[in-house]
């Protein structure tokens, strides 16, 4: 009786796993997303309502909090963090910008952070098309700058990024768990 039940369970798992094989790459647990500056540029573009020239785009994957303590827990203080999941987080500038007192030429870059309790060091690096921060090489840094972070009174479940207008350019806002960082880029 027990054996028969076991066989049935086994058979079911086999059947379910067959079903699961249908799609080639499964959908990622941390889905990818994209943000533009100006915000919603692609929608503005097809509606002929562009508010200002395209300046930046970020492509990142969105891990979830899933009940964990993120900063100081999953993301350890003082260690390099890939600010995303899977493929390295990519930031592209469509025109030259300034960040941390340095000029960054237009082009594609990767984005990392070293997280501490009250501030993050944001890193723009030129090694693109790579995975996470596992091979992060500080020799390929283009610019670094420290930003103060704020505690939010809400919890962000999935890591989120969005651009917003600033007086001299734009900020990349990053929220996850109960932390909000604002990274200033200027023209």
């Amino acid at each position: 009786m027990k054996k028969a039940f076991g066989i049935i369970i086994l058979f079911q798992f086999f059947f379910i796993s067959l079903l699961a094989q249908n799609s080639l790459p499964p959908v990622d647990k941390s889905p990818m997303d994209m943000g533009y500056y100006p915000a919603n540029y692609p929608v503005q573009k097809i509606n002929d309502k562009i508010t200002e020239p395209l300046a930046a785009r970020v492509i990142y994957s969105r891990p979830q909090k899933a009940g964990r303590t993120i900063f100081g827990g999953l993301v350890k203080y003082g260690e390099i963090w890939r600010m995303g999941a899977n493929e390295a987080t990519e930031i592209e500038f469509y025109k030259n910008v300034r960040f941390g007192g340095k000029k960054i030429n237009k082009g594609r870059y990767t984005l990392y952070a070293i997280v501490n309790e009250t501030s993050w060091t944001i890193i723009v690096n030129k090694e693109t098309d790579t995975w996470g921060s596992f091979k992060y090489d500080s020799k390929k840094d283009v610019a670094r700058s420290q930003v103060l972070v704020q505690k939010t009174d809400f919890v962000t479940e999935s890591l989120a990024m969005a651009f917003e207008k600033s007086t001299a350019g734009f900020n990349l806002i990053i929220t996850w768990d109960n932390i909000r960082a604002s990274i200033p880029f200027t023209f």
Partner: protein, 210 residues
């Protein structure tokens, strides 16, 4: 023996029940998921960027290039990548409820599907310069027309045909199993890669030579 048969019956019943429940739930979620701007409210609140119903994904050629690069298994630059969003069927029939034969489809969802060629490529004898393109298709029953277009950084709806760069017609084939999520990957070939596109019971390949 009798009890075994009973258990077997029970287990099938249970399984079919849960499947049925799932599909009817999914159908209610949104019937135009891949043709409208969709967003799913997230709990707890996320005021900056709710998670998309059709998640974005990225495929490289060489396949898994970022992982190869990370593990020092490759030193040459990548050749191509696609960035696309992955609508899912949610119980709908692809060619009755989602796509129409003869009407342009954005090969994805949300932002226009993007093809980055890091090197000049040849498709059906036509040279395609290195650079960034968006992709859309015009599906027919037996063949799809795949279009490379230069209107990059745009939203997938209403493609601007005046910016078409090249059109390629490729045959489609029926698959045995249904792909729930729209899928784009590169598959290595002797001369380069096939860009495989699959959804529902249909798949097609755009051969690219480098």
């Amino acid at each position: 023996m009798k009890s075994t048969a009973f258990l077997l019956l029970c287990s099938f019943f249970l399984f079919s029940c849960s499947e049925k429940k799932k599909s009817s739930n999914d159908t209610n979620k949104g019937s135009k998921a891949d043709t409208t701007i969709v967003s799913k409210p997230e709990k707890p609140v996320n005021g900056y960027a709710p998670v998309d119903v059709s998640p974005m994904d990225m495929s490289y050629f060489p396949v898994n290039y970022p992982i190869l690069k990370m593990s020092d298994s490759i030193t040459t630059p990548p050749l191509a990548r696609v960035v696309y969003s992955r609508p899912h069927l949610q119980g709908r029939n692809l060619f009755q409820e989602v796509l129409k034969y003869g009407e342009p489809w954005r090969l994805g969802a949300n932002e226009a599907t993007e093809l980055d060629l890091y090197k000049e490529a040849t498709i059906q004898g036509k040279k395609i310069k290195a650079g960034r393109y968006i992709l859309y298709c015009i599906p027919q029953q037996d063949q799809w027309t795949i279009v490379l277009n230069s209107n990059i950084d745009s939203w997938g709806l209403h493609p601007d045909v005046s910016k078409d760069v090249a059109r390629f017609t490729v045959p489609v084939s029926q698959t045995d199993n249904s792909f729930e999520f729209f899928t784009m990957i590169f598959q290595s070939t002797t001369t380069g890669a096939d860009l495989l596109m699959a959804w529902g019971y249909v798949e097609t390949k755009l051969p690219i030579s480098f």
